[in-house]
Structure formats: structure tokens, C-alpha cells
Point group: C2
Chain length 244, copies 2
């Protein structure tokens, strides 16, 4: 008998950010697989489960391990922060299914950082928006640059993931320069949120010119408003268009 | 004493799609406000609450009612399907706060249809994406058209909200024509999901040419892949870029 794999989005990183559906999926699993930090969060609430942790940068090995355990009859939960389908492991897991056609895979959605950070900051995504990762580990920078430019030209609100890392300390500044060159005004309403759903959550509103100078890290989610976004009472708001 | 307003995203429409945080916010409220259909969902689980329902198209009156009740000392929950900050009531509620500066407003995020539908369809949003509503009730069609074009030019995956209604039966076809004119291939991998999180959830994968002819309604969420998206085993997948 082949087992089932659940790819589970855990939301912003605290137990109460999970949906009941995600908790039910964890309940149904024999073994929980993931990065050490997320597995520890699960272990606190479900100490009786089996756990299998792998270090970062071994994503595909981790997916294969899930299939191997499923083929041995286990029900397996691969846990991801946020939503498993947004820069997460849902796609590679489903891609690999061609090698393991008998295992069943179910993706359980979770609240991704764009949404959980937006709620902290106000309502920046309340109109058409795009989500762009500045990580060029798996994506050529030229593609990222084109997307930033099209995001501005389309007057989308932009939610930026992975705005910085040790090796890419200046990427947010580079992204801001592309936005300015594409026509975004230096006083465009922006903001960023650190440690969403964790201790020390911090929300900052600022202009695009100030964002260019901001110190952010890989856990920061950055928001660049559209041409109608504004800051009011410390909140970043993109109007939906109602007459108030 | 002024009360507190929670703007609560309920997720895809079933009780298990809510987060624990959203359920805690409902617990904390004296009165729950919203469209009849979402209020009924809450009433099933929290029959002891007070409820205040308003018909559609009275969004701003509903927000003002929340502030009036908060000023009378009540803790008020405005419930929205999906995420309150994605085409929801978070922005107008926060905008109105300038008229009611003493009430406190907290936005509780929920899983928006882009994410919950994506999980049903596979992993279509597993790379940079944009979310566009085809409703021109509050947005000029020229703005929507430009965003669709920029979405294709940026090679974003696109999640389309409000793809159709009785008065706009041909909008998805118009959107598909803009995409094709902007360079998306007729065999671009696409899909759509109906009744996400409700009875009769249905996921369909298709090409962009087929999507152009699809019969969808205002509750359908539509996905147009990027140039690397593909359909495998009935799932719409946008690869993250890993070597498998």
C-alpha cells in the first residue's frame, strides 16, 4: 500500500497562523519532514510524531525522501513556512511525482508572507499586485529585473520576497533603482515587515527613496505601493476605489 | 470606552480554512458584520454572537456601521471571504479610520483564492506572479488591460479574480486576446478552479486558447502560467527552477 504525501503550508510561523485544515493534515501524518526550524514548531504541538529534518539547500533530496517513505506505506507531511505553493516545495514535489506515480500528493495552502505582512502593515495589497523574489539563486537577474520593470509599468503594488542576503546585500537598492528608472516616484508609498508572525514583528512605512537605503534581511517582506497607495496613521493603504 | 474592530479574512469558505488566529478574533467579538453568506458560516460555529448583515454593494455603509458600534464600546468583527486585504474591506476600513480616530482596527489575514485555488490545481504560483481582477466596477478597463499586458511582458504567472459576471460575460475572452496579442502562446499552460473550499470544487487544466472559450463565473479563479509552466498528471505546475 502506497502512502500519502501532504505538502503543508504552515502560515507565518506561529501555531495560530495555521489553518484547521493544515493542523488536521499534520494530525493525519506518521512522519513530519522539513527544515529544522519549522519542524521544531510542529514538534511543540505534536510531540508524538516521527520527525525527519534536513539542512537547507537539500530541497530535492527532502522531496525524494518523502516519496520513499510514502512508498513504504507512511503518511508523510512536508511542512513549509507560509504557503507551500509560493516559492515553496509544492512544485518540485509535484514535478517529481512522475518518478513515483503511485504516491498521492495533496497541497494544503497556508498564509504566505505577502498576505500576513500586508495585514501588519495595513492594506497595501488591496488592489492588483505582483509578488517578486529578488533571489537569483534559481532565477537569472535579467528576468528579475524585467519583472520589476513590468511591475512598475503595470502600476502593480509589488510584494518583494528575499530582498537581501549576506551575498546580496545591495539587491533591494538595485531593485529600487530599477523602479525609479521605470518611472516610480521617489516619494512612492512603501513599507516593510520583519519577523512576521514571530517575536519582534516590526512594520515600517517609508518612501521609495527611503526604502532604497533601508537595512533589510532575508526574512523581511517589502511592499512598494502603486501610484495611488498612501500612508495614513502609520498604515500603508492601497485604495480599492470606493467613494468614501 | 472605544471598542476594537477586527477585519477578519475567513479563507476559502469552509470552517477548516480559517486560521486559529481568525477563530480567536471571532471569539473576541461581540458582534459579527458581513455579507449574509459569510455571516451564516460564522453563525453555524458561533451561534451565541450578535450578527449584523447587509446586502452586497453597501460596503462603505457596512464599514461605517462597524465604527459606530465600536464607538458604542462593542468589539466588532467584519468578516470577509479569503483575505480581507486582497480586494477586501481592509483598505476602506483603514481609510475611514481618519473619521473615527479613536477606534482600533486590526486586520487578520486569511487564505486568498489565489492561494487556495492554486493548491487545488497543483502549484501554478510557485514563481513570481501577479494577481489581477477583471472587474471594472471600480477600475477603468484601460488600467486592467495595461496590467494584463505587463503581466505577460514580465512573464509572470497570472491569477485572475472576477473573470466574469452576468454583465461581463466576455471579459475572460477579452483578457485572453490581450495576452495572446502581448506574446503569450496559444498553448500556454492555464487552469481554473470553481467553488474553491466549497461543495463542488472543480479544477480544470487547459491551454490559453481553450481558456479563451471557457465558461467561467464570478466565483472562478483563473490561472495563466508563465512561459515555463506545464501540465503534468492533471496538475498545473510552475517550476521553481531546481535541477531534478
Amino acid at each position: 500500500m502506497k502512502g500519502h504525501i501532504y505538502v503543508i503550508g504552515m502560515g507565518p510561523g506561529k501555531r495560530t497562523g495555521m489553518t484547521a485544515e493544515a493542523a488536521e493534515a499534520v494530525n493525519a501524518c506518521d512522519v513530519i519532514v522539513g527544515y529544522t526550524v519549522y519542524v521544531e514548531l510542529i514538534r511543540t504541538s505534536w510531540p508524538e510524531k516521527d520527525f525527519f529534518t534536513t539542512p537547507m539547500r537539500q530541497e530535492i533530496a527532502r522531496c525524494r525522501k518523502c516519496y520513499e517513505m510514502a512508498e513504504a506505506g507512511k503518511t508523510v507531511g512536508l511542512v513549509c513556512s507560509g504557503d507551500a505553493g509560493i516559492y515553496g516545495m509544492a512544485a518540485p514535489m509535484l514535478e517529481l511525482q512522475r518518478e513515483y506515480p503511485e504516491a498521492e500528493v495533496t497541497v494544503i495552502p497556508g498564509i504566505t508572507a505577502a498576505n500576513s505582512g500586508a495585514a501588519v502593515l495595513g492594506a497595501p495589497l488591496n488592489h492588483d499586485f505582483c509578488v517578486i523574489s529578488l533571489s537569483d539563486l534559481l532565477t537569472p537577474w535579467a528576468v528579475i529585473e524585467r519583472r520589476i520593470r513590468c511591475g512598475v509599468q503595470g502600476d502593480f503594488v509589488m510584494a518583494i520576497y528575499n530582498p537581501s542576503s549576506r551575498k546580496r546585500a545591495d539587491y533591494l537598492r538595485k531593485a529600487a533603482d530599477i523602479m525609479l528608472a521605470a518611472g516610480a516616484e521617489p516619494n512612492r508609498a512603501c513599507g516593510y515587515v520583519e519577523n512576521i508572525g514571530r517575536e519582534g514583528t516590526q512594520a515600517v512605512t517609508c518612501t521609495l527613496a527611503e526604502l532604497r537605503e533601508a537595512k533589510v534581511n532575508m526574512f523581511t517582506t517589502v511592499y512598494v505601493g502603486n501610484s495611488r497607495s498612501f500612508i495614513q496613521g502609520g498604515k500603508l493603504i492601497t485604495p480599492r476605489g470606493y467613494e468614501l
